[in-house]
Symmetry: C2
Subunit: 459 residues, 2 copies
């Protein structure tokens, strides 16, 4: 996209509230279209020395995210600092490892550092003519009628009112902009917390920054009712996340002392414990994070305000699609602006929410679905056999069978379509698997006949 | 229950916020147990002359409501001013009538006037030693940590802070008490608006207060995508409610002028129009009401605060169970106080929400289910035949088959159990009905054999 002569320059300044991952990428998109963009962020500039990084579940960039980054030409820069993860490595309670590829050869998701990615996008946004970033700007209130933001400068503690003409709410799951929309008539809204919290822990780097486990994989310790995962970092360490019930026999509530933690981890994650020298310290110093699914509608207010990313559809982290879906929002909005023009906001906003809402809802369901898969099913040999058989079917019927994970992760198929197709395929697998006990069974004439029948019915 | 010597008198004053139907009944229950009860209500005293009645969908009292009223000995008083409705009368587009009884002979739901019922309960509460009612008390904020209510006296416009030790939020779907709970950590909450609004209209009384349609029935004009209902009043008139889409070809948006309204009503409700002399005036003067389903959890905060009625589970009006479920909350709470004692609030509150939450969720689903039934299925002869067959099965297998409507309306079976049993029975009917084309078919040996098989499997 040309950056020299903005194609749609207008007198109107667009306001983006929130300079996290989605807000900074959206600002880039809008500025590249020739708009003047004012970006307001509550937190201090994360690129300043001494700034605190918030806790965050590790990010896994997949195809939807990459396409959005490519749209503003920054994918290659980011890929330099990502670590490809080509599959899952499951760790059982005896420390035995099992591998499952995510897709075909060459396909991978990428472990990236949230802070790094955010700083990189902010640098790019700031370098773009027309973008003005302001940090430490807390939104106290959004007045939809008067089109005004009531802001507090967190450094000077000065409050002020700022008008907007077009406001994009990219301020995350607890969006202040959505807070204003929620007060409008007949607003649909839900927030639903998981009965699980998460705790971020560390697997240390080995000597000379060596990775102490397989580097190019996402590691999973599936334990039925809970799980731990680990994603590789560039420095040889892994970021681990324990997803664990708040209450119950095996829960955060049950682990009150360092001895409780050590005993529990040695029993259930025996191969990880020796690699976690700071386990008990981190366990009690790091906060326990909560996880929420947020749904709402509408996402717009007239043609003045649009919610984007987590502000309109915060989801659980288990499919690695939170950031990816927010980035896809940016690509889709950009495409709608291509189609309808940069002056036709009413149409663009209306189309955006109509198109994206069912996909956001489907993705929320998928994220919950994958929670069960990751904590429970991936530890089951029957499930892994099923994945292999699915892969065989995909190979035998090119273009007619794409595993659900691949549709979500390695395609741009709308989430709602992927989810519907995945449910159809799941039903087929549920009928086939009783006839299949080993991978070799797939080649049995009787099984092949069933497969042919199912594929004929599937159409 | 004795009123002279309160069995559980304590120094603690209980605070009930909201003196609507549920709040006034709850106050009665608590006072009868010997508690001092302070009742705070935002609106002015509805018993004062010139007070405005809010708009309201007509109420239909059924068994759960009656039992709760019996628990404080006021059922007989209320029954005097209720009109029994023994069944539905469907009006088709040609004005032809079809009848469907609600239950067995002698069973009925009762049309009651909300205002009258509320005033009656307030009188009874006020007469009870220990109850203090204050009107015009708007809750601006609830401070859960400090256990304080920030109140505004709407007459004097004086704001003040009042402490509470035990607070019951009976302040309805838009509860201020729940507003405070919603700000606590990991609070689950949803508000979901129906794409339909409602409009209250009147069928006039005939000469000398005669009812111009069958008095002891709930009248329904089912029209597939929308419907009108009418409930009898004591003065010979009927309160009608039109449930109608906000948008679309046949919708509120499409009826902009008195001529639009008249033309539309004459086409779709031809037998009602001559009985509605004030139709067009009311249509444009009465507000269009919205309908929301609200779910939340938890319903309590420590052992200090409990939500009751619509504050915790506002539902759609289509099963006539909004008030009845709120009244049942009062009976259930009373029973838990009997079991655990009046000092053991922590246990009582915890038990209450554990027991009532699944029932409230089931009732929310049932209310939506009945919307489809009332606007669409009751106009279908096949559906009415199915109801007759169900009634025959119930007669043939006493105690082993209770139609869903009867379980919800004429029993005290927990809503969740009723809903589950209803779904099982619906599945059986879906298998039987293809074999049944007239009521007489039910006696065919082949059909009887199927019925016997189904009942054997049902257990």
């Amino acid at each position: 996209m040309p950056t020299a002569t903005p194609p749609h320059a207008s007198a109107e300044t667009l306001t983006v509230l929130g300079a996290g991952l989605v807000g900074s990428l959206l600002s880039l998109y809008l500025a590249r279209r020739g708009h003047a963009v004012q970006v307001l962020e509550r937190r201090p500039d994360p690129r300043r020395e001494g700034s605190q990084e918030g806790r965050s579940i590790n990010l896994a960039l997949s195809d939807r995210g990459w396409r959005a980054l490519e749209g503003v030409g920054v994918a290659d820069d980011i890929r330099q600092v990502g670590i490809p993860m080509a599959g899952r490595v499951m760790h059982d309670a005896q420390g035995t490892l099992t591998r499952q590829p995510y897709g075909e050869a060459g396909q991978a998701i990428y472990s990236v550092n949230r802070g790094h990615l955010n700083r990189c996008l902010l640098d790019l946004a700031e370098a773009q003519p027309g973008v003005r970033l302001s940090f430490g700007q807390q939104c106290l209130r959004t007045d939809l009628k008067k089109q005004e933001l009531h802001l507090l400068d967190t450094e000077t503690q000065q409050a002020r009112t700022e008008p907007y003409t077009r406001l994009f709410g990219t301020d995350g799951a607890f969006s202040a902009v959505r807070g204003a929309l929620q007060k409008t008539d007949r607003y649909n809204y839900s927030q639903d917390y998981l009965e699980y919290g998460y705790k971020e822990l560390t697997i240390a780097a080995g000597p000379e920054g060596a990775w102490q486990m397989e580097k190019n994989a996402l590691h999973i310790w599936p334990r039925g009712q809970y799980l731990m995962i680990a994603l590789p970092n560039l420095d040889g360490s892994f970021n681990c996340t324990l997803f664990f019930p708040y209450e119950g026999a095996e829960s955060f509530a049950a682990l009150q002392t360092p001895a409780d933690v050590t005993t529990f981890f040695e029993r259930v994650f025996p191969d990880a414990v020796p690699l976690m020298p700071t386990l008990t310290q981190e366990f009690f110093e790091h906060p326990t994070g909560s996880m929420v699914t947020i749904k709402c509608f509408p996402w717009k207010y007239d043609d003045d305000v649009l919610l984007i990313g987590d502000a309109s559809h915060a989801i659980l982290p288990f499919y690695g699609q939170g950031m990816n879906s927010g980035f896809e929002d940016c690509s889709v909005l950009n495409q709608l602006l291509d189609e309808h023009g940069d002056a036709n906001w009413a149409t663009v906003f209306a189309e955006f929410q109509t198109q994206r809402k069912p996909n956001a809802d489907a993705m929320a369901d998928l994220a919950l679905y994958n929670f069960t898969e990751m904590r429970d099913r991936v530890g089951d040999p029957r499930f892994l056999l099923q994945k292999k058989i699915e892969s065989r079917i995909a190979g035998q019927f090119p273009g007619r069978w794409t595993p659900l994970y691949s549709q979500v992760t390695f395609s741009h198929t709308p989430y709602a379509e992927a989810w519907a197709a995945g449910q159809t395929q799941d039903a087929i697998m549920a009928r086939l698997m009783p006839h299949i006990h080993t991978e070799a069974d797939f080649d049995q004439p009787a099984v092949q006949e069933l497969v042919q029948q199912e594929m004929a019915n599937k159409g």
